[in-house]
Structure formats: C-alpha cells, structure tokens
C-alpha cells in the first residue's frame, strides 16, 4: 500500500508495519523470559521434553501475532476509529474519537532505526489501553494523532458556547456553575479556545542531575544486578578463597576500617551515579506542553516517549520531595488519572503519572500546578493546614514504648541481659520518628478540594478535588474509640501510582465527623462534568 499521496485518512485502511512481527516477538520473549531460558538450556542438553513445552507456549502466540499482523486494519471513519483484526473470529472495535483520552507513543532505538513507533490509544474505560498498535510507521502515527486531536478540538469548540463572555474567571467560580447541566468549569472552556501549544516546562540536564542525586533509583538497579547474579549462579562460582588472597595479610585494624569506609563511600557514589545516569537517559529533553486541555510530555534519550494527559482527567496531584530534594529546593510532581492502571512499568503510563514532572524547583511549583489545574493556587501558606488530634503524639508515644518493650523481650531471648539494649536504644529513635510523623501530618479543605500532607523524610503533599471524590469514609478501630479518635478516608478513581492516599488518621472524633459532613456536602455540590 502506498499512503504518501493520500491526504485524508478517512476511509483508508491502514495496516501495521512489517516490523510488528519482530517487536511482537521481542515483547513476548520479554514476558516469557523464563520459559525461553529453560527451552534453550533444555535444547542444549538435548532434552526434547522442554523443547515441546517451550514450543507449546511460544508457537500459539507467534501464530496469533502473525495473523494479527496480516489481518489488522484500522481506519478513521465518521468520527470513529475502527480497528479490525482476526481470521476466523473477526474482531471489530470502534472507538468514538471524542472518547479517546490519550494517544501515546513509545519509540525505542530499534523503533527509531526502522522509523516506526508503538502507539497506544486509551479511553476512559478501565486500565487497559483500548487499542495498542505495535508498530506503525511514523508518518501514520503523526497523521493519526493529528486527526484525533483535530477532531477533539472541533468537538470541544462545538460543545462550548464560544460567543458567551464567560471565560474571564477561572476555578474559583466553580461552585456557582455546577448544578446546571453541561456547564464546563470556565478555566477549561477558556483553554479550549486557545489551541496553540504552550510550553509549560523544560527540564535542563542540571535539574536531572539533582533528581538523580536525590533518588534511590541506583539502589534499585543494584538490586536488579544482584537478581541477575543469583540467576546466573555467579555467587556459587566465585572462589572466595582466591578473593581473600587479594586482601593484603598485614593490614591493620585501622586500615581495615578505613578501607571498609572507603568501599562504602564508593558504593554510595556509584549508587548516586547510577541514579543520575538513569534520570538523564529517561528524561533527557523533557518538555511539558499544553495544547488546549491536553498536557503533553515528551522525553527520553534512547527510548523516546510521548504521552498525553487530558487535564480534566487528573484526579489527584501529589507534590513530593525527599530529604536531599528539600535541601536543594526541588520537588517532584506526580499525578493520578482515572485509568492510570496498575501496569506501572509501561513506559508511557509511568511517565505520564508516576513521573509526571520528575523534578521542578519549588519556586516554579505554583505556576506549574496552575497550568495543570486552572484556577488552583498551590501555596503552602494559603492552605490553612489543620493538625491532627493534639493527643496523637501521646498515643503514638505509647505505641513506640510498646514496640520498644517487644524489642527488649526479643533481644533478651537472644542474649541476656544485654539483648534488652536493642529496645532501649531503639526507643528514642522510634519516639522521634513517630512524634515527628504526627507533627508532619496535616490537612486542609480549600475551595477546590482536600489537601493532605504527611511524611517525615519524604514529604508528600497531595490534593484531590471535590468533583473527583467518589466516596468518603470515617472509620474507628476499637483503639480509636478508646482515644476518641477516627480516620477519614477519601476514595477517588485514581489508581495509586503516586503512592500516597488521603487517609487522615488520628483525628479527633468530632473533627472527623464534621469534616466528613463538610467534604460530603462540597462533593455533592461539585458534580463531575466529565465521566
């Protein structure tokens, strides 16, 4: 098929690129890595049994992907994206373009070599992408993308009354506008009229350096290395006797200690270095732009990722920073969308939710978040944070003492009487961390939603919005009741990649019940516009 002379995508049947077969095979091998290894080992030893098992598990999927490649056709027709495939059972899926939330693409080095990309079309339903097209030629990707976004812009312009002089104020007008059907919060409407892309944020290499420095990503990579080493039985093959001979015999105790420290420091430096490299590779050339209501991220050195997030779909904004980031004056912003799924290692999904903005200086946070959600002012001083119960520190201290006593007892079992020291030493540490934790936990109810902050070392400040709250719950354990306390939990459609949930524990019972009523009322007032 030759598409180059075709201007319109409409009614043209497009098909996958031939290299689809290769990439399908690669992705299958990746998921079936264990069976494949077994198969190779077995085959090398001449055991036919494993060969048969391996073939039985690989061949059907291979056949499936060949059939899929041969039969898959997709087109955009009459406002619908239609994907057909299947030989015996014809599979036709039509997705209304207006329902398409995201069209993301991933391009790894091999993809780039062949001039193709993997495309993922997502709708609001469920956590699975509605259609994954692996892989398409780049020009097709661009055309598909252009078509879909053009259609969406037209639709959103049609659905809002452009002539109305409504769009001067943003977010704060929220409450007055709900109640009437179909009214879009004015900030969103305004955004739809400006269809020019606006650059919101570009992350220079120097920030990524800091991000890597602050992250524990390196530790994770080391963990992966260890796992590989175990798989390959490296530890069993190592000759520790020979290793020992490498250490000079006449080393004094002081020298031993010094070299141990040196090795430790070197390891730490290595960890940080790995973190820095990971960040540089993953987020190289990070740009965040906004076109209408779509936030678009593109980044990556070798594997390039482009992900789109419609901002109405953002359920949850979380600003997080660990100790090092706080020292450097940086934060990371994570968001959660309704369909951000469980499959976090998926490149586009993890970039668009887990790593939404990997690093940003604190003084640009307010501006950035104002773009993510129009009308929202992100200002620690304006939030009017409330602490949790004043008796929480006392309650948590008792818990610390209890844990220390248990540690003492456990220590005594191992060695008497010095084992008890474990608990004695641990007590102040526990007390400090627990009490600090209580001190760091606070919440605020603003005009937009609920803000919750917690964390001693890694501070997480998260916000969800009244129209995104699906249900709320106050729970009391028997212990809570003894202390006259309760926990307030807000449930949203967000799937949880930000690793922070709004569960405000150890509130005074009366405060919890009161907040429950207030938030419930506000949630009922702010009805969701987009479902």
């Amino acid at each position: 098929m030759n598409h180059s002379d075709v201007a319109e995508l409409e009614n043209i049947h497009l098909r996958l690129h031939w290299s689809s077969l290769v990439f399908d095979a690669i992705s299958q091998i990746r998921t079936l890595i264990l069976p494949v290894i077994l198969l190779l080992f077995g085959a090398a030893r001449g055991e036919n049994f494993w060969l048969i098992i391996g073939a039985a598990s690989v061949v059907p999927t291979m056949i499936y992907s060949v059939i899929r490649y041969i039969t898959l056709r997709f087109q955009i027709d009459n406002g619908q994206m239609i994907v057909k495939h299947g030989l015996i059972f014809r599979n036709v899926r039509s997705i209304p373009i207006t329902k398409i939330q995201n069209i993301d693409f991933v391009q790894n080095p091999l993809h780039r070599l062949l001039g193709v990309a993997e495309v993922r079309v997502e709708t609001a339903s469920g956590s699975e992408p509605e259609a994954t097209l692996r892989v398409l030629k780049l020009e097709q990707v661009e055309r598909l993308r252009a078509e879909i976004f053009e259609q969406r812009q037209i639709d959103s312009l049609e659905s809002h009354d452009i002539g109305a002089p409504s769009t001067t104020n943003s977010g704060s007008e929220f409450a007055s506008e709900v109640g009437t059907e179909g009214v879009v919060p004015s900030g969103f409407a305004l955004a739809n009229i400006q269809v020019q892309p606006i650059a919101i944020l570009q992350i220079p290499a120097s920030w990524l350096f800091y991000a890597g420095l602050a992250s524990n990503r390196g530790a994770l990579l080391i963990g992966v290395l260890f796992a590989f080493a175990f798989e390959a039985n490296i530890f069993k093959r190592l000759d520790f006797q020979k290793l020992r001979q490498l250490i000079p015999a006449n080393l004094g105790t002081a020298m031993m200690i010094v070299s141990a420290i040196a090795i430790f420091v070197a390891l730490m430096v290595l960890l940080r270095l790995l973190g820095i490299i990971w960040y540089q590779l993953r987020f190289h050339g990070y740009t965040l732009t906004r076109k209408g209501d779509d936030l678009r991220i593109s980044c990556g050195m070798f594997t390039k990722v482009q992900a789109t997030v419609p901002r109405q779909r953002i359920q949850f904004i979380s600003v997080q920073s660990n100790l090092i980031m706080r020292l450097l004056g940086f934060s990371a912003v994570r968001i959660e969308t309704a369909s951000s799924g469980k499959n976090l290692e998926d490149a586009t999904q993890s970039v668009s939710s887990r790593w939404f903005v990997p690093i940003v200086p604190n003084d640009r946070l307010a501006e950035l978040i104002g773009q993510i959600r129009p009308g929202l002012t992100w200002d620690d001083n304006a939030f009017q944070f409330q602490p949790i119960s004043s008796r929480a520190a006392k309650r948590i201290s008792r818990l610390a003492v209890l844990i220390a006593i248990i540690l003492c007892a456990a220590g005594l079992i191992y060695s008497r009487p010095w084992g008890a020291l474990v608990g004695v030493v641990a007590l102040p540490a526990f007390l400090w961390v627990f009490r600090k934790g209580v001190h760091c936990t606070k919440f605020a109810t603003t005009t937009d939603g609920v803000v919750f902050r917690s964390g001693v070392f890694t501070t997480k400040t998260s916000m969800t919005f009244f129209e995104k709250i699906q249900s709320l719950e106050v729970t009391q354990t028997p212990f809570d009741r003894r202390w006259g306390m309760a926990k307030l939990v807000l449930d949203t459609a967000a799937a949880g990649p930000a690793e922070h949930v709004i569960e405000i524990g150890m509130l005074d019972q009366s405060v919890a019940f009161e907040e429950h009523q207030t938030i419930k009322r506000l949630a009922a007032l702010h009805q969701p516009v987009f479902q």
């Binding site: 699906q470 249900s471 449930d491 009922a524």
Partner: protein, 192 residues
C-alpha cells in the same frame, strides 16, 4: 413487629430525599433521621448462622466418627470432641445474638447530598457516597433474603479502594426505590 413501624415512617417521607435544588454550602440543613435496616434481617441472619453452625456440627460429627473408627475413644478423641463442642457452642451463641447487635449498629440515610451508611460493632464505619457518583446500583437477593422479602443494595462507584458499597437487609421495595433514586440522580448529572 417493628417492620410495620419502619414502613410507615418510610411512607410518611415517601422518599427520605430532598427533592429541592442542592442547598448551598453556607446553610447547613438539619440532617434527616437515620433509618434502621428492616428488622427481619435479624431473623435472616440468625437462620443463616444456625444453618452454618448446623452444617459445621454435622461436619464435626463425621470427623469425630472417623477419628473413633481410626483410634477408638482416647485422650485425643475426648480433646478433639471437647474443642469441637466448645467451638460449636460459642458459634451458636454468637449466631443467635450477633445479628441483633449488628442490626443495632447499622443505620442509613439518603438526603439531597449523599447516601450515608453507618455500620460496624468493633470497627465502626461511616461511609458516604455523594449523589451523582453512583456508576450503577443493583439489588441482589439471596434465597434467604428473598424468603423474607429483603434485598441487598449494591452501589458501585468509580472509586478504587471503596468502589463497592453494600447495604444488606433492606426491605426489597425500599432497596428498589433507593436504587432507582440513586441511578436517576446519576443519569441527570452525567454530561458526556
């Protein structure tokens, strides 16, 4: 006896839901009364508990018989039998009393803002689903509930940790009415 009363009070309000426009944030309306479940649910739960205990007792008897065939009477047999007896006795006491305690700690209310459920004996929960957040709602009836004319209202939201909320033991017609009201509320709100 009580069920009649509840039905009457329900009928008086016809629907214990504010039909008015959503009230604004500043004025706090007096909360509507909380309703109890249909008291017949106590009988349902007692019957269910008794059946369960009886099945366990049969199981225990079979087990003891097998043990007797294998080993005859002895220390082991008497210990096992004693434990089984104590366990079953405790369970039957619990299945006779617990449903009433649970019932006493169960309340619900629907107002113009949300559906609210209070429940739990040791672990207390107060759950609210704001109106318009209900994705779909079903009324389910097991054989026992059907026999007693009761139903379980199952509410599904788009949430994650608390996506499904159940009220088990409403009079069937009340459950149906509630379901219709909740779904109607959602339909009138969804735009796209």
């Amino acid at each position: 006896v009580n069920s009649h009363e509840i039905h009457n009070s329900y009928a008086e309000h016809s629907l214990p839901i504010g039909e008015s426009e959503l009230s604004d944030f500043s004025s706090t309306p007096a909360p509507l009364p909380l309703y109890e479940l249909d008291p017949r649910v106590i009988q349902v739960d007692v019957v269910g508990g008794v059946i369960f205990t009886a099945l366990l007792a049969v199981g225990a008897l079979v087990g003891l018989a097998i043990l007797w065939v294998a080993q005859g009477f002895g220390i082991i047999w008497y210990t096992v039998a004693g434990c089984a007896f104590i366990g079953l006795f405790g369970l039957s006491v619990l299945s006779l009393t617990w449903p009433r305690i649970e019932y006493k700690n169960y309340r619900w209310r629907l107002d113009d803002q949300s559906l609210e459920v209070h429940r739990g004996v040791w672990f207390k929960h107060r759950i609210s689903v704001p109106l318009g957040r209900v994705q779909h709602a079903d009324v389910a009836q097991g054989p026992l509930l059907r026999k007693f004319g009761l139903g379980t209202l199952v509410i599904n939201t788009a949430g994650t940790s608390n996506a499904q909320i159940e009220i088990s033991g409403l009079a069937h017609e009340v459950a149906i009415k509630l379901r219709d009201r909740l779904v109607q509320q959602t339909q009138s709100r969804v735009v796209t």
